[in-house]
Subunit: 597 residues, 2 copies
């Protein structure tokens, strides 16, 4: 069975040495987040994830969730008890607002914790993950009465949350939704319709479930401008905070899926369920997008987290499995064969994953820091810059992390040879679980369209200018520093390719929008490689500085540099192929008539 | 539920128009293979695959194989009956030797049939597929008495075959096997040991199962030079051909796998089972490799076949699913939304698969033709050239088809959005089934090492020279022809990159063998893209000729050219990145110490 060890050292390297969180001590929430406290929290979190959640991961996959004839759902053995410990440990409240009982710690710390949760048990992590998203949407959009009634219990983790968008006939195109909301005399609404693919939609882990539901008011405008957001609790909540009657929102079925069996993916039937509007009528997508954007970063994190745990287990196997001899002659002559880690092709698969993981962790944490700065930075200018960067990078983190993370899980499975295909080894579960992250919260194709069609153009291209500014400032600053050319040269080449691709898009995407759609995914991946390469160059620079300062554990910093050099040498050449594909444009893609497919 | 329609038209295009099978009418077996007969056979085969096998594919996945307490195994509902029809239809004997009751048709025809079998039901197709491999090994290596006793029933399909290599502690490194074979006074051997991952190892579909087993004689030399091959029947066969007593080879367990649940993957325990040697003592690997080489081509075909059926279903879904509007404005304004096939990114995923499928089919069939020519061509020179080419391309077909085929299945699943993750749609099964093909019959890493470490150097590099000769002759012949530059230019660039990579390997792979290991997979994929690009250039040329001749169905030929142009524009740029990775060499891969992973 796979095991998991939280990459604490690497996380602390990013938080303390690269991001230098101490620099932000003057900001709300950051003052409490001293390196010692953060280390203590993450160490405690690691123990919980390693010892309580990871052992349930296989059970969750094997047993799955069970729906009973009365519509109730039982989660896999151990999940309910683990969730109880999770709540008792105060984990749900970590980064949530202080005024509703949260600890108000920075998101960047919560992000590190969330990576561990997912690596240990992705299906489990989705329950609190969705709750956090629902909290963010309610916090941003609901009136005070709703917030006071729902948020404290959600922040505590006693109640969990869900997001309800998809219907049988519509997923990506939310303009088509049919679920309706009819106003009642008391200011509430009666919600009727069917929602599908609702993660954590019904289960036995929490006392109440708070559904956030997209629906249409009578006479709402057509399309996406006529969608409103509603809060629909499983149990109505009395004025004294106790639970009242059961709302008619029921689980019609649990989906049989490829993976994440430990999470109950439900068909939810709303039969005139009582709900309350969150935000203004017909502006539901705006508030749902607050949840969606947080969720997209969380899904991106799933790509990284599964790549991390899959890679860890592949490393352990590669060190243990004796098979054949090194091409250059026996390296462990006292054993009947060499461990397969001596083989370059095995190392290639491991290093593909590892060199991605470390850069993705840095990029994810940097991104999460931008989320904090968007709300908390001192100047309006800094807030805007942070918002620009995270708006631009959210689809990249979601799309690129999940694509590359899935590929890495496949590679980690490959290291096991035939055993990787056998269920009991657990590697194929990582592949099946990781697969969903490329699809939900907007498929990766939709992420690419969001990037190319919306984010690039936003505010006259300001976000992209801000981001190129960050890249150029860094490259200028680091230029000429010893040992940095192995990082800066490939990074500069890649940045130039990204600029060239952007120019191409500006020239060709306007006059024929199919050009934008055709190259979107390649552009997203090109930007992802630039962003990851940027992280590596930064980390290498920090590691060099640490070595120069004579910091302890020089091996850690040396290996950091070596792993980065691998990334620059073997991942960055992909930027060439991406640019060439972009420059091929829409013509080869659109040449066939629809009927000729 | 997915459906399947055999790509007959495309197959006939390759067989008749591109390979021009009629040119080989003077060769044994080919005379009977007139275009009309081949078309009739494949049409009949298509009906069988579409109507009998495809409907069992999901059932096979859901129900799997069941092992009973007595060690017997039941295949999924319908498999036994379908296999009975398969045998009654005479399908097992299609390409098998006439002297043992086979029809002796060319392999190239059998290969087209096999693609259909796998697309329709991969788990089912493995039973006859392994039988064919076992027939080939027995035919090549066993003495007349063994052949006469076993081959007729195997050719008829009444008995099936297996290959037994892997043991719990050894897969790739066969030198480590422990199964032992002790000689008996009657010339037979007593086989004792445990074999794992034995596909079709025990089941209820055939009257007898003929296991080909690698084992060691007492005092055999160490390593791979001390391995012999044995034929071990499930039931002993009396002199009159009737079945005798049960041999002590039993199924200890069925593996729980990620996919191909319809195939029984067994742990087989040999408890002094009676066996007969195939070929000479300690030369077992030689004959097993006859089976392995055939099996590797068959596994490569699995990559293509699943990519084909997955793509077919994704096309149907993309035409049917209404969601959003084309970026350039509504294309189907009378419908509530456009079908998603209007979106460039959806088309990209479909065309990635389709443009691979058509080229891979051509390459696979050309490769199968080389297998025929290796045995049947008139001159020794032609035989040698054919053998060179198929020896060189076997690891490429296995490794590249299964890597790309799996990726295409993932893309086809992606077209379905959330529905692609739900079991009932069947798309995730294609992904799970396709995954094994990258692993078994030698992982793709091993294929790449076979190519770079063995095939390139064989006979002083003769095979590679032969292959480059074929490429250059073609490019020279087609040069200057109208409309061909979109094919020839990218092909020439890719061939140059392959030559450059080969030079790099010759210079660096000798002095440091880790360099060869480090770049092997990239080299294999670079050669694969060259080979597929070569096929597209040939097919485009044929299609142009057909159009010029005013052949009917001009749409088919025009679309053939467009699909090829897509491949050249969007797949071929990958060759750049592959070369850049190759030139990075082993250094970044070997920099970390084993302990630092």
């Amino acid at each position: 069975m796979p095991s998991y060890q939280a990459p604490l050292k690497d996380m602390m390297f990013v938080l303390n040495d690269m991001l230098e969180l101490e620099r932000y001590r003057n900001l709300p929430g950051f003052a409490d987040a001293t390196p010692d406290l953060v280390a203590a929290i993450l160490e405690e979190a690691a123990k919980f994830c390693e010892n309580e959640l990871a052992p349930l991961n296989r059970i969750g996959d094997e047993k799955g969730c069970v729906r009973h004839p009365d519509g109730s759902v039982t989660t896999p053995p151990g999940f309910k008890e683990a969730y109880e410990k999770f709540v008792e440990g105060g984990w749900p409240s970590l980064t949530n607002p202080v005024e509703y009982g949260g600890q108000g710690l920075p998101h960047v710390v919560g992000f590190a914790f969330e990576e561990m949760l997912i690596s240990a048990n992705m299906a489990f992590a989705m329950y609190p993950g969705l709750t956090n998203g629902a909290i963010a949407a309610i916090y941003a959009g609901a009136d005070e009465e709703l917030k006071d009634r729902y948020l404290p219990k959600m922040v505590e983790g006693r109640w969990t949350g869900t997001m309800n968008l998809t219907e049988p006939h519509c997923g990506t195109d939310l303009g088509l939704i049919r679920t309706k909301a009819e106003p009642e005399a008391d200011g509430s609404y009666r919600i009727t319709g069917t929602k599908i693919f609702i993660s954590a939609g019904e289960h036995d882990m929490s006392e109440n479930i708070i559904h956030l539901v997209l629906a249409k008011l009578p006479d709402a405008p057509k399309g996406t401008k006529g969608i409103s957001l509603f809060l629909v609790p499983k149990f109505l909540v009395n004025d004294d905070g106790t639970l009242g009657e059961r709302n008619p929102v029921t689980c019609g079925a649990i989906e049989e899926k490829m993976g994440i069996h430990g999470n109950s993916t439900c068909v939810l039937n709303y039969d005139g369920a009582k709900g309350w509007i969150v935000g203004r009528p017909n502006e539901g997508l705006k508030n749902m997008f607050i949840m969606m954007n947080a969720a997209r970063l969380g899904v991106g994190l799933q790509g990284l987290a599964l790549s991390e745990v899959a890679c860890q287990n592949a490393v352990a196997y590669a060190k243990d499995r004796l098979q054949g001899r090194a091409l250059s002659g026996p390296k462990y002559p006292d054993r009947p064969a060499d461990p397969i880690i001596v083989h370059p092709d095995v190392r290639r698969m491991l290093l593909d994953a590892r060199s991605f993981n470390e850069a993705a962790r840095a990029l994810g944490l940097w991104g999460a820091l931008q989320v904090d700065l968007t709300h908390k930075a001192e100047s309006q200018e800094e807030r805007l810059a942070a918002d620009d960067i995270i708006s631009l990078l959210t689809p990249v983190i979601k799309g690129v992390f999940t694509d590359m993370g899935f590929d890495n899980c496949v590679k980690a499975q490959q290291v096991f040879g035939g055993h990787g295909y056998i269920r009991e080894w657990g590697m194929e579960q990582f592949v099946r679980d990781a697969r969903i992250a490329m699809i939900y919260e907007g498929t990766n194709g939709i992420q690419a369209l969001d990037l190319v069609g919306r984010k690039l153009a936003l505010n006259g291209g300001r976000a992209l200018r801000t981001y190129f500014g960050v890249l150029e400032a860094f490259m200028k600053e680091a230029a000429g520093e010893e040992g940095m050319d192995r990082f800066l040269e490939p990074l500069e080449r890649a940045v130039k390719r990204l600029q060239k691709a952007t120019m191409w898009l500006m020239e060709n995407g306007m006059k024929d929008r199919d050009n934008a759609g055709a190259v979107a995914v390649d552009y997203m991946h090109l930007m992802g490689l630039v962003a990851l390469g940027h992280m590596w160059a930064q980390m290498a620079r920090v590691a060099r500085r640490k070595l120069a300062e004579g910091a302890g554990d020089s091996r850690f910093y040396e290996n950091k540099i070596r792993t980065g050099e691998y990334f620059m040498a073997r991942w960055m050449p992909e930027t060439r192929a991406r640019l060439a594909k972009i420059e091929a444009g829409a013509a080869p893609i659109m040449a066939l008539a629809d009927d000729d497919f």
